[in-house]
Amino acid sequence: MSIDSSAYTRPDIFADEIERLFAGRMYLCSVHELPEVDSYLAIHLGGASITVRHTTEGLRAFDNVCLHRCALIDPEGCGKRPFRCRYHAWSYAADGALHAAPLVEVDDLARRALQTYPLTVVGEHVFIGLSGQAPAVDKMAYAMSEAGIPLTNPEPFHRGELLQQCNWKLLVENNIESYHLSFVHAQSFIPAGFVSKSDYAWEHDAYTCWSHCEPTEATSKTARLQRLSRQSRHEFGHIFVFPNLFLTATNQMVGFRSYVLPLTPDRTLFKWELFELPALLALPTPVREQIRAESIRFTEASLQEDKPMVEACQLGLSSRHAFIQLRAPDARIQRFHDYYAEQMRHAEK
């Protein structure tokens, strides 16, 4: 069974997804996005406004709604500022307790602390449990080792974000299939040697799945890559951590971490970071610089190639006769749909 086409457009289903499915585990950011005390990242999704802060006591997540008259305390996005509302300067402590309110007696207030949410940090990856329970991420380390990506990596050398006019599930689905490569990626995957017919293998665990894509022997550049670095191989490794995190390893050189944040049923923020894998870090500086530059070009090209396709699906799915037919090349999407259905059902109880 696949997800019903209306699940890509209906606001009530979207609200359910945030409340039930994203509540258990949601990737929020890497620790690199919150480098110092008072760094924050604030997002608004569905009915939740959250800010994650680097406090004097470590990373903490709070409701981002001021206890006074409900202004957002931190503006949406990332930055560095004291934990203080911009409107009337009510300020908050590292545990979310109201610290001071100008001209007001704090002790008289009925509510004096922000709601907090548990975070789980795996390596450099920060997950939030909006349900109030710490998110389970115990399967992640294994998937990462399968793809050859260390749990902790250096500061990313590039970041970006793209607002996509589509449902978050379309971005997941596009990310976990290689079927479209030959038809969409003329400026990225095709010249890099990865096409629809490349050898593609994938496996899954409870809420992770990972794949390996290798060019056919005749087109593999592994031997040439290994003249640059013995650790390199011509391959594309990919991991999906349900519901919203993707990690890839290209030729064991470049790591790419991306994630989707569902804003509305048909608007999704896609964010990414590129970082160097150990094989690349070991190479001479001018070679590293060239590979980094090439990977930025590759990433931007491939994202621009995908964008019109996922947005076209969104329009198609909102038409009256929308009907999805998953076939063999969509097997990994089928797995995603099964897991999605399980989670939505499970949450119903």
């Binding site: 003249r227 190479l283 500086t285």
Partner: protein, 76 residues
């Protein structure tokens, strides 16, 4: 810097016979020239001449001789 020596190292980096190259060879017109060759040449310039090249140095040079001059200008 010796031109024959440079041609030999350049040829070794991109895995062709040195005899097929000369200073006026337009290297990006060679069959199978690709981004991996760019990397191999950058690695060669670094390892053999201590010279840092960028992708645009290679993009902007047409012949082996032109690139040799860039490398020469970057040495120690």
């Amino acid at each position: 810097m010796n031109a024959d020596d440079f041609i030999e190292k350049f040829a070794f980096a991109i895995e062709v016979e040195a005899a097929t190259l000369a200073l006026d060879t337009r290297f990006k017109d060679l069959p199978n020239w690709d981004s991996l060759n760019t990397l191999a040449v950058i690695a060669m310039a670094d390892a053999d001449y201590g010279a840092s090249l960028t992708g645009s140095d290679i993009q902007n040079s047409q012949t082996v001789g032109e690139l040799m001059q860039v490398v020469q200008g970057r040495m120690g």
